[in-house]
């Protein structure tokens, strides 16, 4: 059994009286100590999926099984103990820290809420965490605005890890950072993963970063997972036409290696009623793609793809 099992999850949004599903029947799992990458373009629902797994957005239907407990419909009071195991790192290091609290307060409150009553014990945990993220003790009494973007992201990570979770959802955790800082944070995440035995659900639009950090990758398009594969297979022999298009759009830092022709069209907010959601942009779409929605088929070896033609 995996650490996290998501089954047929749907998340509904209502815009101007119309309901649509930003996440529409998604199933996947994350094993213990595994890093699962989730890529897709903006508006594909990857961030909503992350927040739904975190129960920050209510799911419309489906199951979210964490460590054997279905948490999809748990009331908040019963959800609270589960939150120790499940944490999140946010994208914007400026918006994700309360500007009116010191770093110390931000790290201490989760411990208080989760019943670490002994102040000395809390002090010990916070100081140990500060050391892990490379913060001197003295700086913990300062406010977030006194730190740079990269330092803030370290604080955000520390806050997520202070309860020693098993699974951390990283929602575009390095996307807002400069290149040199991005490398620092990625290294930190890898170090912490090894040290604390963490599993990650790593959500990002940046394929290179996902490729670097993930053991397995899910590709999402318009609320559905179109391909799921281990990182080596996905990059070497992508099956789904969307994955291929995505991969060939990433500019390489080798000027001699010109990227393939860009696919046309843009992700649209209008979801087609029937058939494959990618077909309007798909270079190989056939007549049946407009009629039948492809299922996510598991291939020998455990990878999966949702395409009639793959």
């Amino acid at each position: 059994m995996s650490l996290l099992d998501v089954e047929n999850l749907r998340t509904a949004y209502t815009v101007k009286g119309k309901t649509f599903y930003a996440v529409d029947g998604v199933s996947f799992s994350v094993g213990a100590k595994e890093t699962v990458g989730l890529v897709g373009e903006s508006g594909c629902g990857k961030s909503t999926l992350g927040k739904t797994v975190m129960r920050l957005i209510e799911p419309a239907s489906g199951k979210i099984t964490l460590d054997g407990h279905d948490i999809a419909t748990l009331p908040e009071a019963q959800m609270r103990p589960m939150r120790r195991k499940l944490q999140m790192v946010f994208q914007d290091p400026y918006a994700s820290l309360n500007p009116r609290q010191t770093i110390w307060q931000m790290l201490e409150t989760p411990l208080k809420v989760h019943g670490v009553a002994d102040p000395a014990e809390r002090r010990r945990i916070i100081e140990a965490m500060a050391e892990k993220i490379g913060f001197p003790k003295a700086s913990l009494q300062r406010f977030a605005h006194e730190f740079s973007g990269g330092q803030r992201q370290r604080i955000g990570i520390a806050r997520a890890l202070i309860l020693e979770p098993e699974l951390v959802v990283c929602d575009e955790a390095v996307s807002a950072l400069d290149l040199s800082i991005q490398a620092q944070i990625l290294n930190l995440l890898v170090d912490l993963k090894r040290e604390m035995g963490l599993a990650f659900l790593f959500i990002s639009h940046d394929l290179s970063v996902v490729r670097y950090i993930s053991d397995r990758v899910l590709v999402m398009y318009l609320g559905k997972i179109v391909e799921s594969a281990d990182h080596a297979t996905l990059w070497n022999s992508p099956r789904h036409p969307y994955t291929r298009a995505l991969l060939s759009s990433v500019p390489s830092t080798d000027p001699a290696k010109k990227i393939g022709g860009a696919i046309s069209g843009e992700i649209s907010t209008k979801i087609p009623e029937t058939g494959c959601r990618f077909r309007a942009r798909c270079p190989i779409a056939e007549a049946r793609c407009a009629l039948e929605a492809p299922e996510l088929k598991t291939l020998p070896g455990g990878n999966a793809v949702a395409c009639h033609l793959a």
């Binding site: 373009e41 490398a183 759009s249 500019p251």
Partner: protein, 332 residues
Amino acid sequence: MIPKPPVLELLKLEVGFPGAPIVKGIDLKIEEGEKVALVGESGCGKSLTAFSILRLLPQAARITGGQVIFDGHDLATLPAHELRRIRGKGIALILQEPMTSLNPVLPIGLQVAENILQHEKLSRRAAKERVIELLDLVGIPNPRERYTMYPHNFSGGMRQRVMIAMAIACNPRLLIADEPTTALDVTIQAQVMDLLEDLCSKLSMAMLLITHDLGAVAQWTDRVAVMYAGRIVETAPIAPFFAGPQHPYSQGLMNSSVDDGWHYSSHRLTEITGNVHSALGERGCAFAPRCPLAAPGCRETPPPLELAGPDWHVACYRRAEAMAPSPVAASH
């Protein structure tokens, strides 16, 4: 053969806010039809440099020294009404955020037409036809119907195409694109950059691309200028640059970017320690506090840009050591 003069030449350009110099003396040449990338991390002054060319700086910022030579004029000191004749006509600008760079209450056709009507003696009707051609040229379907639509009817990529149509409306000789694809998805980025590249060659237009994305630089430009803390530290044609940058900062950037095929299980990224703020109060090379090769001499005076190869300039006292195989370079 007499070499053609460059389209744009920045000479010792200095820009800053009162009491806070940001751009500290930049020299940069852009040749006819050339695509030059200005690369750097946030806060290094690359956007201010771009804005200062057309004197479109934020409120408090000022050009505090140097020249911006375009077409024999110094744009830094040109009277405002003459500068207006160059804005949009000689040099055009594309901004980062296609959501906010178009006026939300005006139809997009009018916004493109404004540029044409400002610089060319054309009737409104003729201008409209021109706009429709332009919209078609940048790949907007049904341009005639779209003419009267408002920006909120368009997706991000389409808006950026409208911006491009607006920018190329008067066949400018230079296009300044400030992070034109940062707000766009990777498949849309490829579409937009391909379009820009195509237009540059069709209209023999030079481009100054402001970006932080090394991949975009390698794919869509001819030459790169790396900026750090208000100064250009290295400038080179892209092929030799990506084969082996000479400045320790450029090397650091290349090493911290996640390259093809790297995986965390086998490859640890090389970090540049510290952050850009480390340069504050530094008298010498701004990168010295983060540089693995810094020597005491680096912290006296900033190194000048020196010729390091064909059309290749580097500002580093320790260039020789940086080029030697080092433990940093050998780790991958």
